[in-house]
Each structure stands twice: as C-alpha cells, then as structure tokens.
C-alpha cells in the first residue's frame, strides 16, 4: 500500500489562510487534513467546515479533540454534520487531551482510558443511528439519538502515546495517531497498537497507524531546523524525564528550557535546544533528509505520515515542496 500523507494545521491564523493552505495541500496530493483543537485558537469544527466547502477529495478530521471539553454527544453531532457537508471525507480524531490545557479551563482529566473509550463508543452508536442509553464509568446518556441519518461509517482515529492508550487504540481504533517523530517511539507505538489489534483479531491493514510528527522542510537545512526549534522546545519542556532519558537527553536541560519558556525568554529557550532534541522530537531538513527519515518510519509499519507543525519556515513553500518532492517518492 502506498504511504498516505497527512498535514496538520493549527487554526491560529485567519480562516481564509488555513482554507487556502488546505486547498493547496489537496492539490499537492495530501490524503488527510488534521486540524488541532485548542480553545485558544479558532474553533476546530468551524475551521473544518470551511475547509470542507473549499476542497473536494481530501479526508479531514480533528487532530485531535478530547472527551472532556465538549460532551461526546455534541462532538458526534459536529462530526456527523461535517460528514453531511463532505460525505465520506470525515474522520474523528480523539485523544486524552492535554492536562495543562484542561486545567486552564477548570476541567479535571480523570480516567483518560475510560473516557476516550466511552466517548468513542457513544460516537459510534450515535452515528450508527442508535438510541443511546449508555452507562459508562465516565459518561452516561439516557436515550440520546440524532434526528438525522448518517449514511456512511465515520472512521475513528485514537490519539495515543503511552503504552495503554496505544494498546487500546489498536483494539478500538480505525486508526492511531501517534504523536512522535523518532523511529524508536514509532516502533514502540506500532508494537503496542499491534498488541491491541491481536487481542481482537484485527489484521495490520485494518488499522491506519499514522506518525503525527513535528515536521519542517526547506531546501536549506539550516532554515528547516531553525523553524523546528520552537516546537521542539515546547515538546522537550512538556516531556517527562523518562521520555527524555530514553533519547539520551539530560532532564536538567529540559528544566532550563521550561524555565526560559515560563518567563517568555524565547532566545534562551531556543538556544538551549540541542541537536539530540531536534533529532528525537522532529523530522526536519532538506527533501532528501526527510525522504530518508520517512522511509525509515514506513519500514517500521506506519500507513500515514502526518506533517505536523511547523511544516516549514514558509508553509506554502513547504507544502509545495512536499507535493513535488516527497509524496512522489512514496508512490508505488
């Protein structure tokens, strides 16, 4: 199977810019468009609706939403309505959410595994037209039903990083969005998701494992790397010591970056990012470098490669570069 290519956009730019990027990505041969969901940015569903109206074939979805901020019934309603705008082109991306983000709005993140599993079950039942009386550990419904019909099954991708979530993603997901860039992390994810798939008798081709990477491309390697620095700095600052140690990164260095970011001292934060960190948490460089790294991930077993933020120092140029040099290299 040819490798699929996805692209992530953050709606921190006006709707028309993101929509234009989506159109360009579709034209350049991307298969999937993922839009992040964070309350500080534009609303993910409104953004996706606009992108849906201006594209024809790209598949799109939340990359990712969580079960906490919005009741799963309303998430299902939003995705189902999008599916009416673009039938068969919509997927749900659902993960556990980010603790810091949830705390900022006073939402407690309890039982992430159960919450994600239950939210997906409710989503599937509702979009299948069922009257849902659901008694879960986290969510309860007493007869929720849509007054409209959804003609097709909407795939669900589970955002996962830890072993338990990855295993569950393999079990219940139509796809897995692995928030990682390094081959060792992707290898671990493929293995864990595979364990889950085995438990329910799924074949590898039944679950689309996507490497949701931090990606930056430019003909000039230095420019590509420079653009990746802020994203890598934030990833390092948010990573637990075992994750850093696994990649040979001194947690003390991460503390340094975290402290600099807390005081908005960006030059210090970016200056503390080392080549090891860039290598562990991003894929960046020239088209040739990126092709080699993506090929390595494909060999491990991914079905989709997602070019996540920052994509490149110049987003349009980066999309064009991926479309002309990267995607053709993986067409079988």
């Amino acid at each position: 199977m040819p490798l699929k290519f996805g692209i992530e956009f953050v709606p921190n730019v006006p709707y028309w810019k993101l929509t234009a990027y989506a159109m360009i990505a579709e034209k350049q041969g991307f298969n999937n468009l993922w839009v992040t969901d964070h309350f500080g940015n534009r609303n993910v569903y409104v953004t996706l609706a606009t992108a849906a109206m201006f594209t024809n074939k790209i598949t799109f979805g939340t990359g990712v939403t969580n079960p906490w901020m919005v009741n799963p019934v309303i998430t299902a309603q939003a995705i189902a309505t999008l599916n009416e705008l673009a039938p068969g082109r919509v997927v749900l991306g659902m993960g556990a959410g980010d603790k810091t983000t949830l705390e900022a709005v006073g939402v407690e993140m309890g039982k992430p595994l159960a919450a994600v599993k239950e939210a997906i079950e409710i989503f599937r039942k509702l979009t299948a037209g069922e009257n849902v009386a659901y008694q879960g550990e986290v969510f309860k419904t007493a007869g929720a039903k849509f007054n409209f019909k959804i003609k097709n099954k909407i795939p669900v991708y589970v955002g996962a990083q830890g072993p338990k979530m990855l295993e569950m993603a393999g079990k219940i997901g139509d796809g897995v969005l692995v928030n990682a860039s390094h081959p060792s992390d992707i290898g671990f994810a493929v293995k864990m998701a595979g364990e889950g798939m085995k438990q329910v008798g799924k074949k590898p081709e039944e679950v689309d494992i996507a490497a949701y990477t931090s990606f930056s491309i430019n003909e000039d390697a230095k420019k590509a790397t420079k653009a990746a620095l802020p994203v890598v700095a934030f990833i390092v600052a948010g990573s637990a010591p075992p994750v850093l140690e696994k990649h040979g990164i001194n947690p003390g260095k991460a503390d340094e970056i975290r402290a600099a970011l807390k005081t908005s001292n960006f030059p210090a934060a970016l200056g503390a990012v080392t080549p090891d960190m860039i290598n562990a948490f991003s894929i960046c460089g020239t088209p040739e470098t990126c092709i080699a790294k993506i090929a390595e991930l494909k060999k491990i077993g991914i079905g989709q490669f997602v070019c996540g933020s920052p994509i490149g120092p110049n987003v349009k140029q980066a999309i064009d570069l991926i479309g002309t040099k990267i995607i053709p290299a993986f067409k079988e």
Partner: protein, 91 residues
Amino acid sequence: MDYAKLVEMVPQEQWGILSERLIGVILGAKNDKIPNSVANTILMDMKNGTASSKKGVTNLLEVAAFLDVENTIIALGELKMLNVAAEIIQS
C-alpha cells in the same frame, strides 16, 4: 493604482505563475487584515481555477501589494516583471 492595467502588462501565459507567487506572498504576509469579502473572493478563485484569470490576478496583485509590498516587488522582480514592479514602486 489601476491593477488591471498592470496585469495587462504581463503576457497572459505568465498569469498562472504570477498568480501562484502572489498567493505565496499573501499567505506569507505578517499582515493578514483584509476584508472577508476580499478573502472569500481569493478562496473562490482558487477553488474555481480563476485565480490565474485577469480578474483573479488583478485581485491577487492588489491584495499582495497591500499586505506586503516589499515581497510583492521581490516576487515580480524574480519573475522578470520589472515594468510592473517599477509601476508599484513609483505609485
């Protein structure tokens, strides 16, 4: 500035490449404050394949010059459309 007249100075076979470059300038501009109606026209032109029509390129040139005149002139220079760049500089 009559942007339609400027577009007429460009050979029609180059409208496509000019349109592509201007879209790049517009998307890369730090200033993104344009009226919704103008933004929607650009999106509609991109969707309908009319971004490289005379009307489409005229709109793109005007928006690009408004949002980022420096990079618009650089793009025109790189495309060897120096007469158009000169008109914008003089305006």
